[in-house]
Amino acid sequence: MRYLDKQSIEYIAIGAAFLGTGGGGDPYIGKLMALSAIEKYGPVRLYSVDEIEDEDFFIPSAMMGAPSVLVEKFPKGDEFVKVFQKLAKYLGREKITGTFPMEAGGVNSMIPIVVAAQLNLPLIDCDGMGRAFPELQMVTFNLDGISAAPIAITDEKGNIGIFETIDNKWTERLARTATVEMGASALVSLYPTTGAQIKKSGVHNIVTLSEQIGEIISSKNRDAKDKLEQLLSLTSGYELFQGKITDVIRETKGGFNFGKMNLEGIEMNKEEQMKVYFQNENLLAEKNGQVIAMTPDLICLVDYETLLPVTTESLKYGKRVRVIGLPAHPKWRTEMGIKTVGPRYFGYDYDYAPIEELISKAVASHV
C-alpha cells in the first residue's frame, strides 16, 4: 500500500493521457476534481493487486459521454458517491472494499481517485483496458464473461438509473442512450467485481505505470531524446515516426468521431509519410503505405519537443509530433480480445498482427 498525493495525481493525469492513445479526453478537468478531492479528504491509498483478498468486493467508477461536453459541464461533485452507493445498495452489499479505474486513459483515470477520496476507500492498481477504448464492453473483464451489469448511471441533476441487461453490448447501448439524454455526460458505476476476478481478469499495475510515464514526461532539464528512451524502455514501446501533421479529416457517425490524419516526416523520417486512422482513439498507423501498428496495440501521439500526449481533439495542421507504438496487454491479443477490439471490429479490413512483427517486417523490407 502507498499513498497517492498531489504530485502522483499530476503524473497519473499525464500518463493516462498518453495511454489514452488520443481518446478519453484531456484529463485536465478530472485532474482538478481529483486535486480538490485530495485537498479536502486527504491522500488516497493505492493497493497493489497482490494486497487484496479473493472475496473482497469492488465497484469501478467512470464517466461516460463526450470529453468535449465534460470540459464545459463538469459534475457537481457528489454524484460519484451517490451512484456508487446506489449500486452497492442494489447489490445488497454493505461493505465495498474499494474501487478502481475501468479505463487507464484520459479523464477516467481520475474519477476513481475522486470516489476513493470521498468515500475513504482504497484504489486498486489495475484497470480493465490498460489503455482507452470507446465502448464499455471493450474491457478485459468482458473477455472473461464478467457482466458490466447491473450498472448505475447518474447526472449532476440527481437522476439515477439502474440497468439489468442481457449482455455487455446491450449495457453499452442503453447506457449510451441515457448518457445522451443526461446531457452527453454521465457518471457510471459498473462491473462489480470480486478480488479473485480482478486478479484473473484485470490489467494489473496500470496506475503505477501511468504515474511512471507521467513522471518521465514531466521531468525537466532533460532533452526529449533522453526522456523518450526512458519512456520506450519502460513501456516496451517503439518510436514509429517523427512528423508534422499536414491534414486532418474528420467525420462524425453514430456518436463517434472518425478521422484520419496525414503526417509528413521530419528529422529521422524526412521524405517519408504516415497516416493514422482514429475513432476517438488512434487505431491504425500506416508508414509509407504499409501498416505498422494496429488496434489493440497502442498508437500514442506526443508533442515532438515536450513528449506531452496529444488528444485527437487537439490535432491540428502543422503540429509536430512523435508517433509511439506500444504492444497491447496479452489479454487483448487473444482470439476473443481481437474479436472485441481488433481492426475488423472497427471496420479496417486487416488481420491483426502484433506491432513487433510489423516493425521487423518493415525493417527487413527496408534492407
Partner: protein, 516 residues
C-alpha cells in the same frame, strides 16, 4: 491623410507615420519606460517633430501595447473581480480560481458565486436563472468587487442568460460598471474560458488608463478628431470602446504586429517571418495575411486560458547573444548582453563576444569599430555562423507545414546576424524599414469579428450553420468598428464533438473588414 502607429516593445517604443498610400513617411525609436506612458509621449513627440506633417491631416492613430500583459505578470493595477458562474449544481466539483496562483487570487479577492443557470450541449435548458438569487448576490458584493465576470455553462451555444445577468448588474450598479461575459471572450472549455474572462474583467482599470492616456497624449500634441484604435493579437484592430470591453485581446499583439508589418513591407501574404531582436528571435507564420493561431491552451501569468493567441516560437538568439567556444563546442545564446550591447560587445569596445561581432567580422554588418574584431579567425567566425544557421533552421522547421523549402522575411534590429544560407529555406527576403515592422503592422491592420458555437448539423444543416455563424461574426466586426460593406470571411474551423450521436460540431468563423 496620415496614420500614426505606435508599438510598445520590451526595449523600444517605436512610432511611425504612414501616408494615405501606406508609404512610410518617418519612423523613430525611443526607449520603453517603466511607466510606458512617458515612452509613448516621447516617441509621439519625436516622430511628429521630425516628420513635420500637417497634424490636422492625421486621421487614425493605432497603439500596440504590452500594458495588459505586464499588469497580469506583475499582478499590478488589477481590479477586484467577482465571478458569477451560471450552472449550479453542475460544475460545483471545480470552483472558480482552482489552480490559480495564490497571490493572484488575493489581488482579485477571490469572490465567486455558483448560481443557477446554464445550457446543455444541444442548447436545451440546464436551469433557469433566478433573478432574486442574482440580486441578493449583488447586494452583498456592492463594496467588495470592482468588476464582474459572468460564465454560463455552454454559453457558447446560447448566451442570453449571460446577457440577462449583465443587465441585472447594470440595473443594480449602473451602466458604467465593468461586466465581462465569457461567451464573447473564450471558446468551449469552461475553466479556461472562465479564467480568460476573469483576467479580462481584472484589466478594466489598466485599459482605461491606457486608452485615456493615449487619447490625452494625442490631444496634447495637437492631434484632434482622430480615430483611435488598439491592436489585437490576431493582427486586427479594435476601437477604444471595444478595447475597454476586451482588454485581454491586446495580449501578445507585439509579435503579431511585427509579422504583419513584415509581410506588408515585403508584399507577401503567405510567408514565414523572423523578427530578430537583441535577445530573442520571434518566428511566426502568416496565412493569407494573418498570423496563424496557436492550438494549445496558453498560460498567462501561470493561469490557463483559451482565448486566441498567435502561434509564435521564440528562440534565444539575437544581436546581443553571447558566443562561447568551450571544449571545441561553439554555442550562441540563449543568454545575451541585451540592452548593454553598446558597451559590452567587442565592436563597441567591450569584452564580450556577441553574435553582432561575428557579423561585423565577416563584413555582413557595419557598426562600431571593425578593427576591434579583426583578430577573430575567419574560420571560427564562419563556424559560429553555421551554429546560428542551425538554430534558426530548427526553429523554422517547427513552424513549417510542409517539407518544402520556405521563403522567409527577415526583420528586426538584430537581423544582420542571420546568415544567408539556412537549410530548409529557399530564399530570405530583406526589407527596407524592417526595424519598425511592428509599428507598421500596427498601422495597416483591419478589423475583425469572430463567432463560435456548437451546431448540430442533423438539425441545422452545415450550410445554414455556417451562414448563421458568419452573420454573427460580421455583427461583432461592425461593433468593433468595421465597414460592413468590406467584410470578408477569412477563417473557418470545424471540430466535431466525440461521442455525440447527432453530428454536433463546434464551428468557429472569423471575418475581417476595413475600418469604417
Amino acid at each position: 491623410m496620415y496614420r500614426i502607429g505606435i508599438d510598445v516593445g520590451g526595449t523600444n517604443t517605436d512610432a511611425i507615420i504612414l501616408d494615405e498610400h501606406n508609404q512610410l513617411v518617418h519612423s523613430v525609436k525611443s526607449p520603453t519606460t517603466l511607466d510606458i506612458k512617458t515612452g509613448i509621449v516621447t516617441s509621439l513627440r519625436k516622430v511628429l517633430k521630425e516628420a513635420n506633417v500637417d497634424k490636422t491631416k492625421i486621421s487614425h492613430a493605432m497603439l500596440g501595447t504590452t500594458q495588459c500583459t505586464n499588469a497580469i505578470v506583475e499582478r499590478k493595477k488589477l481590479a477586484k473581480v467577482g465571478v458569477i458562474r451560471l450552472g449550479f449544481p453542475a460544475t460545483a466539483s471545480v470552483p472558480p480560481y482552482t489552480a490559480w496562483p495564490q497571490d493572484m487570487i488575493k489581488k482579485l479577492t477571490g469572490n465567486y458565486a455558483l448560481v443557477q443557470g446554464g445550457y446543455e450541449y444541444d442548447g436545451q435548458l440546464l436551469s433557469e436563472i433566478d433573478e432574486q438569487e442574482i440580486n441578493e448576490l449583488l447586494a452583498k458584493w456592492r463594496d467588495k468587487v470592482e468588476a464582474i465576470a459572468i460564465i454560463g455553462v455552454f454559453s457558447s451555444i446560447k448566451n442570453d442568460q449571460e446577457l440577462k445577468v449583465r443587465d441585472l448588474i447594470w440595473e443594480a450598479y449602473g451602466e458604467d460598471y465593468t461586466v465581462s461575459c465569457s461567451s464573447m471572450i473564450g471558446s468551449v472549455g469552461l475553466i479556461e474560458r472562465e479564467n480568460a474572462t476573469i483576467l479580462n474583467a481584472a484589466l478594466c482599470h489598466v485599459i482605461e488608463t491606457t486608452t485615456t492616456g493615449f487619447a490625452n497624449a494625442l490631444e496634447a500634441e495637437g492631434i484632434k478628431d482622430v480615430e483611435v484604435y488598439l491592436c489585437q493579437n490576431d493582427g486586427t484592430l479594435m476601437s477604444i470602446e471595444y478595447a475597454k470591453q476586451f482588454p485581454i485581446l491586446t495580449i501578445a499583439c507585439g509579435p503579431t504586429n511585427s509579422i504583419r508589418g513584415a509581410s506588408y513591407l515585403a508584399n507577401i501574404k503567405d510567408t514565414m517571418v523572423i523578427d530578430v531582436g537583441g535577445t530573442t528571435s520571434d518566428i511566426g507564420v502568416l496565412q493569407d495575411g494573418f498570423p496563424r493561431e496557436s492550438s494549445v491552451a496558453v498560460e498567462i501569468g501561470d493561469i490557463r486560458t483559451n482565448f486566441r493567441m498567435p502561434d509564435i516560437i521564440s528562440v534565444g538568439l539575437g544581436g546581443g547573444s553571447i558566443v562561447r567556444a568551450e571544449g571545441g563546442k561553439i554555442t550562441v545564446g540563449p543568454d545575451s548582453v541585451g540592452y548593454k550591447i553598446g558597451e559590452e560587445a567587442l565592436v563597441f569596445g567591450g569584452s564580450t563576444l556577441t553574435a553582432t561581432d561575428i557579423a561585423v567580422r565577416l563584413g555582413l554588418a557595419d557598426m562600431g569599430d571593425k578593427s576591434l574584431v579583426s583578430h577573430i579567425d575567419e574560420g571560427f567566425a564562419k563556424q559560429v555562423q553555421s551554429v546560428i544557421s542551425s538554430i534558426i533552421a530548427k526553429a523554422i522547421d517547427k513552424m513549417k507545414t510542409s517539407s518544402e523549402d520556405v521563403q522567409i522575411v527577415l526583420v528586426g534590429g538584430g537581423s544582420v546576424i542571420i546568415p544567408d544560407e539556412i537549410s530548409g529555406v529557399a530564399d530570405i527576403v530583406k526589407v527596407e524599414n524592417g526595424g519598425v515592422a511592428n509599428a507598421i503592422g500596427a498601422s495597416i491592420s483591419q478589423i475583425s469579428g469572430q463567432y463560435e458555437q456548437i451546431y448540430i448539423y442533423s438539425r441545422e444543416p452545415r450550410e445554414q450553420s455556417l451562414k448563421d455563424a458568419e452573420e454573427k461574426a460580421v455583427k461583432q466586426a461592425v461593433i468593433a468598428g468595421a465597414d460592413p460593406t468590406t467584410i470578408k470571411l477569412v477563417e473557418v474551423e470545424e471540430i466535431p464533438l466525440a461521442y455525440h450521436p447527432e453530428n454536433a460540431t463546434r464551428l468557429r468563423v472569423k471575418v475581417v473588414g476595413k475600418m469604417s
